[in-house]
């Protein structure tokens, strides 16, 4: 009697669900004809990526992802769609002239990455981590010791982006 492949574990089943959900919504983002549907698919994708972070035991990143991406960026994008009345649904094609070549290029990039990733024997299991609040504390310590310059520059960048966005979007009249 041939040996059956091992049954998938719970974590593998959950990962497959999250991965399929994320990939399907990502396709929805780039293929949706209605831009608003694309924005909703983007929110679904970002939630799926947050789920993947939870599976990778990076809980702080998952929470940041939901707060920053879903809470702020998705809202901004929805505002911009409303303000620019760009839901030209059905009036014109949402794609430009080079979509065929681009699609072929994207598929080839994915196949190349697929072959590359599949050809390397990556680790099947990960070393155990302390997945509790001590990791978040360690992350905070990293930010104010080893990466303090990057942290401060990022704060400055956010300030400049804030002021610049207000200046750009302000109505001059």
């Amino acid at each position: 009697m041939p040996e059956l492949p091992p049954l998938p574990t719970i974590s593998q089943l959950v990962f497959t669900g999250f991965a399929l959900f994320t990939c399907a919504s990502a396709l929805g983002v780039v293929l949706a004809r209605n831009l608003f549907h694309g924005a909703l698919a983007l929110v679904a994708t970002l939630f799926g990526v947050a789920g993947l972070y939870v599976m990778l035991e990076a809980e702080f990143l998952a929470v940041s992802q939901v707060l920053v991406y879903v809470g702020a960026i998705a809202t901004l994008i929805t505002f911009a769609i409303m303000l620019t009345r760009s839901m030209m649904y059905g009036k014109t094609s949402p794609l430009n002239r080079q979509w065929g070549k681009t699609g072929l290029f994207a598929v080839m990039i994915f196949l190349a990455l697929y072959g590359f990733v599949g050809s390397i024997p990556w680790a099947d299991s990960a070393p155990a981590v302390l997945a509790d609040e001590s990791m978040i504390a360690a992350l905070g310590v990293e930010f104010v010791t080893n990466y303090v310059v990057a942290f401060e520059v990022m704060g400055l960048l956010l300030l400049v982006a804030l002021v610049g966005a207000v200046m750009l979007a302000r109505d001059n009249n």
């Binding site: 574990t9 974590s11 593998q12 990962f15 994320t22 990939c23 990502a26 983002v29 780039v30 694309g38 983007l42 994708t45 990526v49 599976m55 990778l56 990076a58 702080f60 990143l61 940041s64 992802q65 991406y69 702020a72 960026i73 901004l76 994008i77 911009a80 769609i81 620019t84 760009s86 949402p94 794609l95 430009n96 002239r97 080079q98 681009t102 699609g103 290029f105 994207a106 990039i109 994915f110 990455l113 990733v117 599949g118 990556w122 680790a123 099947d124 990960a126 990791m135 992350l139 990293e142 990057a150 990022m154 960048l157 956010l158 982006a161 804030l162 610049g164 207000v166 750009l168 979007a169």
Partner: protein, 103 residues
């Protein structure tokens, strides 16, 4: 345990989808959303390599991912402000029609 390959493949798919959207969509906001997809693909790879690396106590991968999330927020704010500003001038966000510099 899920093999590392699974996470890398999800990242590769998100990147390819974002690349297609950024190059093939006409609407400037759709291009911006595709760029967010590509940034997320990079983040998945960073976190996955951190988790499956030999020293998960070294949090460099997570630090980079947090910085990329902050960068994406700044990029979205400035990008959308630019789009709104362009819309006010030209009454369109269709990238094919924004050909002011075309000779």
């Amino acid at each position: 345990m899920v093999p590392l390959t699974g996470y890398l493949l999800v990242g590769a798919f998100l990147f390819s989808a974002g690349l297609y959207g950024a190059l093939a969509r006409k609407n400037a906001i759709a291009v911006l959303m595709s760029i967010e997809l590509m940034l997320n693909a990079a983040n998945i790879n960073l976190v996955a390599f951190w988790r499956y690396g030999d020293t998960p106590a070294d949090l460099t991968g997570q630090v980079f991912a947090v910085l990329i999330i902050a960068l994406a927020a700044a990029e979205a704010a400035v990008g959308l402000a630019l789009i709104i500003s362009v819309y006010r001038e030209r009454k369109t966000v269709d990238l094919d029609e924004l050909d002011l510099l075309a000779g």
